[in-house]
Amino acid sequence: MTNIPETGRSSRVQIRLVVIQVLVLSLLLTLGGRLWYLQIREGAAYAKEASGNHVQQVVQPAVRGSILDARGVALADNETRLVVSASRTDLLKMKDDGKEVLVKLAKVLGMTPKEVQEKVRLCDAETPQPCWNGSPYQPIPITDEATAKQALQIRERAEDFPGITAEPEAVRRYPSPGKANTAQVLGYLSPVTDDEIKKAQNTNSPYLRSDQVGRSGLERQYDKALRGKAGVTRYEVDNLGRVIGQAEADPAHPGDNLVTSIDSRVQRIAEYQLNEAMKEARKQHDRNTGTNYKADSGAVVVMEAKTGRVVAMASNPTYDPNAWVGGISAKDYARLTGKSSNYPLLNRAIQGQSAPGSIFKVIPTAAAVNAGYSFNGPYECSSSYSIGGQVFKNFESKGYGPISLGRALEVSCDTVFYRLSHEEWKRDGGTKPKKNANDWFYKTAHQFGLGKETGIDLPNEVTGRVPDRQWKLNYWKANKDAWCRTGKRDGSYAEKIAYENCLEGNRMRAGDSVNYSIGQGDTLVTPIQMATIYSAISNGGTLYNPSVGKAVISADGKTVTPIKPEAHGKLPMSQKTRSEISDALAGVATRGTAAWRFGGWPQDKIPMHAKTGTAEVYGKQTTSWFATYTKDYSIVMTISQGGTGSGASGPAVRNIYNALYGVSEDGAIDAKKALLPTPQKALPKVKTDGTISSPKVSKDPAKDQRAGKKDPNAPDPLQPATAAPPTPENRDTRRRRRRGSRRWPA
């Protein structure tokens, strides 16, 4: 611009030429600036977008590991189904977007072309189900129920079906070996949710959209091990999704197998016996309500006493876990979770809690000894015990005179425990507790592991409740507003209780401590907690964390990771007290409240210990509890609204023992018929090719047991008719609380 030559031309043109030059320069500078902005300032973001553009993942799902019983029998495995899938990228390469191929395919599969079209379309905001919401680069399954003939037709005429594959694929299956359903323990799977995919995105085990995730039971607890790791192949693709190179490939790792301590035969017998016991209970008349027992739910736990391993765990009502396979139907879902279903998904062995009744008494017994009372006593077993104007009666209002704590356990004398608990309550300061109150009866319950989870390897275990002072205070704080609003001094029973609670629900009253001493009132326990406690009494005092998983074995059988039993504490009692209590519990089985259920039991060869319990629940029928143990096993059964402990649960528990040890009704032991006289120690073998050696399981071990005499391989049958009839002396303990006892503050 500096050396404008002498052109003799007008300055107007020269000026305009300079303007043009400046304009051009500014345009170029604009381009340069924008280029800098995109490439240097925003470059990283665009680079990331570009890599997302051209890399696509293809996923080979890992085969989920099996869940095996202690002997290697599969409780959950996979079955092979023929899955016909379509590759969208292949279809879109065709002139008509693969329409013709899909129509042909529909004919082979016996579907309408519309159905097939809908299966392969991609989901978006405007597309209603059915549609595919997975990756468009993933083969889209059209059916998982193709017959071998259909698959053959597709594979043999591959040129007629470009982009269509018919491959065998693994689908979850719950085979119920020998009719052992094990539903709540196994749990179930359901498809992964968007949230879970997002959360696991940057972890080392991300989910695939097609993944199934364990939602409850073992499937959930051991999900990570069972799931394995999906294989991912990353391809570089062009704008049409055509593969132009393979970036990297991680092979799929099949999931590990989980060996459990469950024995499918014992499991079947436990389930069968529980169900039979409940059916039988429904035939029994309840004198208190004037109707038959409802027996609405129940649970039984069979535990290895020396390890805390669960041999069988049944919960009733139950369901078929196969209902979840391949996506649960809305109807099935409503049936399993609706209000009228009585919640079969609940595992009542770990998620059902109720007052334990007299099977609780081992705890106040230990508490009394710890508080300094002599085991031998004697203590007055009167027919009733009064505090102020309030009368707490012994069961059936029968007295036994001065007896030891052991005898009190045998005959389940309530008044002995009323007296001891009341004395301790007074010693601790009554309604105005001392600063450092001993609270022996409550402290001991906590030491037994009550009021918290046992730590079993199953999800969502509930804690139960020890109604100590702290709990009463917290509970009162949470509820007093409602109580004070609804409570009336002269209203109905419920209103009076509310009125009373409003005034002094924060305090531990004499009646509370008396009720508590026999496992009543606000006390809540789960069957698994009681099985853990009775196992500990059997094994010398170790409170094991119950466990179902016994070992994790890799799919090729090469890596075996045992799951060792872990303890969470010791029973708070000396070995002397423990053996005294144990002797007393043996007495329960031989001459106490459970004796009529163990008639003819070979006590000298297999010492049996038992405790019965019948707990009252406000507004409902009584809960039946039965806690037992031998040196190897502990069995705890409960039936809600089922009647008395030995009455409702006794025969079932006896039958389970009969099957375990091969005991016949006359007391003879036939080792051949014993299913599991000692707990299974060895782990099943998984071969390198992934097959598992397991013994054959008969069609229905429970049926074999009933028909035992005809089948020499099955345990002896139990004839219910031969059971001794109940006598007033050894009927269940059962507490009668005077209605409205809470009205009188003690």
Binding site: V24, G32, L35, Y46, E49, D238
Partner: protein
């Protein structure tokens, strides 16, 4: 070409008067050529060859199985372009002045042919004539040249003769009419991009001719009014409106009309400072950017050569434009000035529009990047233009 430079530098000081030294004498054509323009344009064409090759070596549906198909053709086009430039210099822009009516008439005839069944449609624009042997011609590229020459001839005639200082109104009207005829035809094709370039050329030409300010501003106003009415009257095709909408908001429909701009920006943005390396761009290899060898060739440079490569292209085009501006200023006759200014307007707008659309600051239209984009007609036209610039410089008075 580089060989020529070296021999020029080395033998320029030789004592003997051989054929070489005569060629390099102070008044020789070689000495008077504008070498920066020639070298920059050649470098751009060669760079374009690599970029076009990178964009097409995998596109089997385009290159008929021969990865070098486009490379060879782009080189061939460059060679023909250089020959056309040499021919133009040899004829000289002044001598061509007499042939302008014929050239103009011929080019208008060609674009009329496009409207007959001989014409064919590519990418929604009906602007090509299919020739035998797989070649096709885009006459609107040549019309850009003849409009510049025709208008320059009319506007400069009386001024260069010394009759007037500035073109009078009648001459301006005649010149505008001359430009309007082919512009209307091109608009019918419809080839909106070329029409836009022609409007800018007309503006540049009018500015440089010294025509009254009223004409310049009047034309600007008419242009704006025309654009608005074209929009309002719905003369534009749907795809053209969609392109503008996508320009205003590229996220509008990333799979549809916004796809081009989005993918182009991802390609360029991912290049960073030095790029992913020639032939190593994932966007380019994966063919995510459509029309990458022609209108979107700049994205190859952006992705594979990065800011340095993209900047080099802009710099080289900047050198061409800067030197062209100098040529316009330094020549003595108005005819030369107008021709040079018209070419500046043409190249500048086409560069800004083409690179700008790949960077997302201009709407998408089908315009090639001078020298770099693949396409014979465009390549020939821009090299003829370079020839005109060289001729104007060569024939300027020695006193300059």
């Amino acid at each position: 070409m580089t060989g020529g430079v070296n021999s020029f530098q080395v033998s320029g000081y030789g004592p003997e008067r051989t054929g070489w030294t005569r060629l390099l004498a102070r008044d020789s054509v070689a000495r008077r050529l504008d070498w920066p323009i020639l070298l920059s344009a050649t470098a751009l064409s060669l760079l374009g060859t690599l970029l076009v090759y990178s964009a097409t070596r995998n596109r089997t549906e385009l290159n008929q199985g021969d990865p070098y198909y486009f490379l060879v053709r782009h080189l061939l086009n460059t060679g023909i372009g250089l020959a056309l430039m040499a021919g133009t210099i040899w004829l000289g822009h002044r001598a061509l002045r007499t042939a302008v009516p014929v050239l103009y008439g011929f080019s208008v005839l060609l674009i009329l042919l496009v409207l007959t069944p001989l014409g064919s449609t590519i990418n929604g624009a009906h602007s090509w004539i299919k020739l035998p042997g797989g070649f096709s011609l885009q006459p609107s590229e040549f019309v850009k040249v003849t409009i510049i020459l025709g208008m320059a001839m009319l506007l400069a005639a009386r001024v260069d003769a010394g009759d007037k200082q500035y073109p009078d109104h009648r001459t301006v009207v005649q010149a505008l009419g001359l430009a309007a005829v082919p512009m209307l035809i091109v608009m019918l094709m419809p080839d909106l991009g070329s029409v836009m370039v022609m409007v800018i050329i007309v503006l540049g030409v009018l500015l440089a001719s010294g025509a009254s300010n009223r004409w310049v501003f009047g034309l600007l106003g008419a242009g704006t009014l025309g654009a608005v009415s074209v929009w309002q009257l719905g003369i534009l095709d749907d795809y053209q409106i969609a392109r503008f909408a996508a320009f205003a908001n590229p996220e509008l429909d990333p799979a549809g009309v916004g796809y081009n701009t989005n993918q182009a920006r991802i390609a360029i943005g991912s290049g960073g400072l030095t790029g992913s390396g020639l032939f190593h761009g994932s966007q380019t290899t994966g063919q995510f950017v459509p029309e990458q060898q022609t209108d979107f060739v700049f994205t190859v440079a952006g992705e594979e050569l990065g800011f340095l490569g993209g900047g080099l292209i802009i710099l080289l085009l900047g050198i061409v434009l800067w030197r062209a501006c100098r040529i316009a200023r330094e020549t003595t006759d108005l005819y030369g000035t107008i021709v040079a200014a018209g070419i500046v307007a043409w190249f500048a707008f086409q560069t800004f529009e083409n690179v700008g659309m790949t960077l997302g600051i201009m709407p998408v239209t089908g315009l090639p990047l001078p020298f770099v984009s693949y396409g014979g007609s465009s390549m020939f036209a821009v090299w003829i233009a370079v020839g005109l610039l060289q001729s104007i410089r060569v024939q300027r008075p020695m006193s300059a």
